[in-house]
Amino acid sequence: MAIRVFLLLLLFLSSAIVSFSLYEDQAGLADWHQRYIGKVKHAVFHTQKTGRKRVIVSTEENVVASLDLRHGEIFWRHVLGTKDAIDGVGIALGKYVITLSSEGSTLRAWNLPDGQMVWETALSSAHHSKSLLSVPINLKVDKDYPITVFGGGYLHAVSAIDGEVLWEKDFTAEGFEVQRVLQPLGSTVIYVLGFVNLSEAVVYQIDSKIGEVVAQKSMVFPGGFSGEISSVSSDKVVVLDSKKSILVTIGFIDGDISFQKTPVSDLVENSGNAEILSPLLSNMLAVKVNKRTIFVKVGGEGKLEVVDSLSDETAMSDSLPVADDQEAFASVHHEGSKIHLMVKLVNELDNVLLRETIQMDQHRGRVHKVFMNNYIRTDRSNGFRALIVMEDHSLLLLQQGAIVWSREEGLASVTDVTTAELPVEKDGVSVAKVEHTLFEWLKGHVLKLKGSLLLASPEDVVAIQELRVKSSGKNKLTRDHNGFRKLILALTRAGKLFALHTGDGRIVWSMLLKSQACERPNGISLYQWQVPHHHAMDKNPSVLVVGRCGSDSSAPGVLSFVDVYTGKKITSSDIGHSVVQVLPLPFTDSTEQRLHLIADTVGHVHLYPKTSEALSIFQREFQNIYWYTVGADDGIIRGHVMKSSCSGETADEYCFTTRELWTVVFPSESEKIISTLTRKPNEVVHTQAKVNTDQDLLYKYVSRNLLFVATVSPKGAGEIGSVTPEESSLVVYLIDTITGRILHRLSHQGCQGPVHAVFSENWVVYHYFNLRAHKYEVTVVEIYDQSRAENKNVWKLILGKHNLTAPITSYSRPEVFTKSQSYFFAQSVKTIAVTSTAKGITSKQLLIGTIGDQILALDKRFVDPRRTLNPSQAEKEEGIIPLTDSLPIIPQSYVTHSHRVEGLKGIVTAPSKLESTTHVFAYGVDLFYTRLAPSKTYDSLTDDFSYALLLITIVALVAAIYITWALSEKKELSEKWR
């Protein structure tokens, strides 16, 4: 009896602990978080004598950040909204960082030390125009020089102290485009130079105190301008004419405009089209002609002369005043695997102040941008440091001939992610090396025990953390038994492939895509190309990287095959056709290479790999290959099928033509496609059936060919707040992609997008906005197979009178029924994913990336259409949760715990070998990785398991046995004597 009670108690205790959350000292044990900022656009140094030296940067990911100049760490950063691109950054009054964003309509000031926003000013804007920010270099801190901002057709003067607009001037006249706003140092006159219809130059002189136009001059230039412009001094600019063959110096001293034309051919022999480069050099400009960079000096009367010429691959910084009215600039050029950094005086180009040669990783590509800063050395000479932005978006600080620090900012713009296995442990190398003695082992466990009983001192906690990290061996570069160690392959927008280790997030290898056809292809997507089973074949796995030469979808594609273990490129090919869609086929050849079809813009598909074996496999399955395309613009979904080899048009036998099989046309006046989704092709479904509480069977309709489509009324396609509930409705469809049959349609009146959905097994969960309740809603749709619903009788199964073995074909009309339910959800959502495990047995969790850049894990049990208000006892036992009108947000179930994955874009899950556990990788501006066990680690002991307590118990028991034995002996003896 006692044993029974004990067992019951034990069961009760073990079932009571269902929360999967984290203790604070477990943070960072299985997860890591990396902070990035993105490709740097602007950089402003702040290197006053006192205080920490820092550099303020703004990036293409709309981040403004303050970096430590010594170590490259982030002091603070802010990720602005997605539509809030930063146009300029500066430092005002020595204490505020000023950013201009949203096409010159938002001006913000941030406190330099801690990044607190100080003020924010909305500037009026009328139309799109250049946005220019000029923050005066303040010599006297107490005096407030206004910041001049041009944007949206208006010129504004804004006080740096509180962001008050002092005055604004309208330049929105028809055809007038402002090109430059210049203010000579110490002058109260602001020159505004612009072109009318690119043929007439107009200069306004404006009093910087009151914003009145003092004078206005204009002059027609017969040839017209091209729009490229470089300001060389405060009263001179150089522009290119419309044919890009003549450099025109426009001088506007005291408001008088003068043109001085210099044909480029006078400067350089056999010149082609010229291009003005962006660096601002005083009294000089850099022009790119004939693939060379020439420096043109602008004389006092606007005379141009060539002073130097450099190779094409040169990046330059703006010029910077160094001592005694002299200005210097930095230039960086490549030579083999080295880069040369030179700092020269603008006036005397022969006078090289600094010449440094630095070994550079080939996989960083060319130098894109250089920002220079000078400092006074202890011997009073000038020292220089340069911040360089490379082609792979990485950021490096060069100083004294060495790379002081580097940041892999390419990882802030990940476009596609996949995972790969690590190499198998070779014989003779033991992973589980016994590293410490029994005493140390015991000590460690006593420490852990102390930690779990809250007896540990802070030093002990640190020791426990260290011990855990060390003992787990999680950073090894080999496969482990549980599949916890893996490689995460991330392709970035810059076309660089990174392999990150799941243990600590370090970069194992990285590789920049290369192509003969174009300078630098963009990365689009990643596919598993070859995953050899290591028992069968001793070959390294490889991935297929699909890239494109240019941003246009009709640009030719580039395929690269990369060895996963080494990070070396196996081959790459310029495929000569465009890439619209890549379809991995469910077939592999004898070397376990997966067959892929690539569809191009002209309606052909191309088979890869281009081998005869692949071709013969493909020919066998020729009739069974279907795919679909979604035309979001015209609202048509088309199904395609193979037609024939396109040998008639080209000699390429791996090219095939296709024909349209079906179309689903959505009426354009009432429906607009906003989201489409299919299941993950590699998802594992453990069981086909679901047992109800009343012993009823429900068969899941599990099909790989289901497409989820969400459409909204065209009016509702905009933002929330732009439409009334009556005007908008949301309709979702489930479409079979083989036949084009609509299996289910569900309409939500008064709802609108954006729709974020996740599709797994036989269910779809999607998130949208309900305009009537003015809340977000989440709906779950589960789809079940009716045709097999009769197979419930055991006798039928025994006598074989069931249709379970009947082949399932997409051609037949499926009898399906759906169940759905909706709930409120209290947050905006950026993306939704679902956990995936090796066998699909473990219950699933939805991973909801919220607007706050956190990831919430929500049990699938909360989005179950069988939830009712008052579940019966049987249903409760099954684990059905009583229905509530909104989904709970439990803070402990944020898998990102106290981190934010800033700028969250996507969440990727991958199974580990241990069934209970799944890898979760989230990317955005930041990266975050963790391991999740949606139903706790039921198949292994947790890290927390206290071996020490077990040991102590055993010892105590043994001791108790001996003591009682001795006692009983004694007692027996005394009894015998009696």
Binding site: S19, L22, G81, P754, S828, H897
Partner: protein, 207 residues
Amino acid sequence: MAPILRSTSLLAFFVCHISLFFCFFASNLPISSGSEDSYTITGRVRIPASTVIGHAAKFSNIKVVLNGGQNVTFLRPDGYFTFHKVPAGTHLIEVNAMGYFFSPVRVDVSARHHGKVQATLTETRRSLTELVLEPLRAEQYYEMREPFNVMAIAKSPMGLMVGFMVVVVFLMPKLMENIDPEEMKSAQEQMRSQGVPSLSSLLPASR
């Protein structure tokens, strides 16, 4: 424009309606300024000092989001935030602060009343007289370790095992004492006669 209600009684409807009525005429909500079709929403985020836990709330890390990401703005040192150029209509404002949960706020910007702003918390359906946003609750992202106590150890499986052994060791002899001495004697004799006790002898059926 009646609020949409789910599973609330008619009485609640009236209460809510009256409060909305009230704020329409007697509130001191900020009246937004702006041109014909675009207005400004100004509000404030306030975190009561009593709810500050663990990592203290830094205003610099709080974002205010309009319409699910259309606009993102930050807080000034005094907690104020502003959205500029917002068209008339019904909007949604969310506040993201680590460690706090804020209810999304439904904000109606009226075109007829020159951009008069009317705000309602969507989670609690409470209408606000001023656009001052306070967290509904503080969020603790970590599970709290329970402090050391003897009961926790006693309740753990191993503690129970030890406890069970103790019971067997110390209470069983007590039970033995309660058995009738004669019966005990006969049993002991039986044992002696059979020598080493075997499993079968312990079974009552074999007797």
